[in-house]
């Protein structure tokens, strides 16, 4: 059985908006995310430490796990053929239990490189109540036609 691409390069245009993903963060979200990234620092699992030592209002989502959230959000849109080439994060604030995360994104560039690889640039924001907590600029390879597979690219044919 052949897996058809969910999204083809020609279907995407600058200015397109990705569907919003909302997620209610709990203490479990934060602790599970910290352990999944082997981040044992107490401010990601010990509320007493976070409040009394870090001066934050609660434990908070760690950065490597936010990277995993951004990847999930982007590949929910692209499907399994979408291949991340480059991501840039900027951290502006923390995400706590009780927050509802909102992931939103807009396509801010599309292009085909000299190897024939189709690239889409998306600006993603993670916000809580309209307050941007983290931004992620992602450069993602998308199949240029139904027979294309960016994952098959190696060496000089992969220029992220």
């Amino acid at each position: 059985m052949t897996t058809e691409p969910l999204l083809i390069f020609g279907e995407i245009a600058e200015g397109d908006r990705l569907p919003t993903l909302g997620y209610d963060v709990t203490a479990t979200t934060v602790v599970l995310g910290a352990l999944a990234t082997r981040d044992w620092r107490p401010m990601h699992h010990d509320k007493d430490f976070a409040v009394n030592r870090n001066g934050t209002r609660d434990i908070f989502l760690n950065t490597p796990n936010q990277a995993a959230w951004f990847e999930r959000y982007i590949t929910d849109w692209t499907g399994p053929h979408g291949r991340l080439g480059r991501v840039t994060f900027r951290m502006k604030g923390s995400v706590f239990p009780g927050d509802t995360m909102s992931f939103d994104a807009v396509v801010d560039g599309v292009g085909v490189d000299e190897t024939g690889c189709g690239w889409v640039d998306v600006d993603v924001t993670l916000s809580v109540d309209g307050d941007v907590k983290t931004t992620c600029q992602a450069h993602v390879a998308i199949p240029v036609d139904p027979s294309d597979n960016p994952w098959a690219r190696r060496g000089d044919r992969w220029k992220p």
């Binding site: 897996t3 001066g55 490597p64 990847e71 999930r72 590949t75 991340l84 480059r86 994060f89 502006k92």
Partner: protein, 196 residues
């Protein structure tokens, strides 16, 4: 401290990346210039890349990408199972405990070396870029090294006076193929009004 210690992890420390900085004194000393482009602190991961941790990561963010859950899709698209690219740095964080562990883990040691060298007590990471190359696969043994790419002259931002630097952390597999490069922009500084 994790290698991904960031502004976000330290709370709202300001959006200094936009601050740009003013002034420009204090040339980069020769001993620091000599380190630019040099591979430092090579390290081998403690354990091979494993599927259990891939599923733990996917579960933590409810990532249902069939590449990581359906072996037929993985065989067709990626010639077998791979790890989510965003897990790149996970393979380098040690378990909380290991028997007879003696070597210190040195995440982003170059960053702390620069803080010490310039006597800058505070630091934030302003940007973190990751570029992905060869996919990481279960069973891979990943090794890493740190490379200082640049150091600025002294600059003053809203946070204080100090220097920006860019450090690359390069990750390669057992065949020495680069699987990814993380670039960190750090700003080491002294708060305004504090002595040196």
């Amino acid at each position: 401290m994790s290698k991904l210690e960031t502004a976000g992890d330290e709370g709202d420390t300001g959006d200094e990346g936009d601050a740009g900085g003013i002034g420009g004194t204090g040339e980069v000393p020769a001993d620091v210039r000599a380190l630019i482009g040099v591979e430092q602190y090579p390290e081998e991961g403690d354990f091979p890349v494993e599927r259990g941790y891939i599923w733990t990561s996917c579960a933590s963010v409810e990532n249902g990408n069939p590449l990581f859950w359906d072996d037929d899709v993985a065989a067709e698209l990626t010639e077998g199972p791979i790890a989510p690219p965003s897990m790149l740095s996970v393979w380098f964080r040690p378990h909380h405990w290991a028997p007879a562990r003696t070597a210190d883990h040195l995440p982003l040691k170059v960053h702390f070396d620069l803080k010490e060298r310039f006597g800058l007590p505070e630091a934030v990471m302003t940007d973190n870029t990751i570029v992905f190359y060869e996919p990481v696969r279960p069973g891979d043994r990943i090794h890493t090294r740190q490379v200082l790419r640049s150091v600025s002259e002294e600059k003053t931002t809203r946070l204080g006076t100090g220097r920006f630097w860019v450090i690359d952390v390069e990750y390669a597999n057992q065949s020495d193929l680069i699987v990814g490069v993380e670039s960190y922009t750090g700003f080491g500084y002294r708060r305004s009004g504090s002595g040196s």
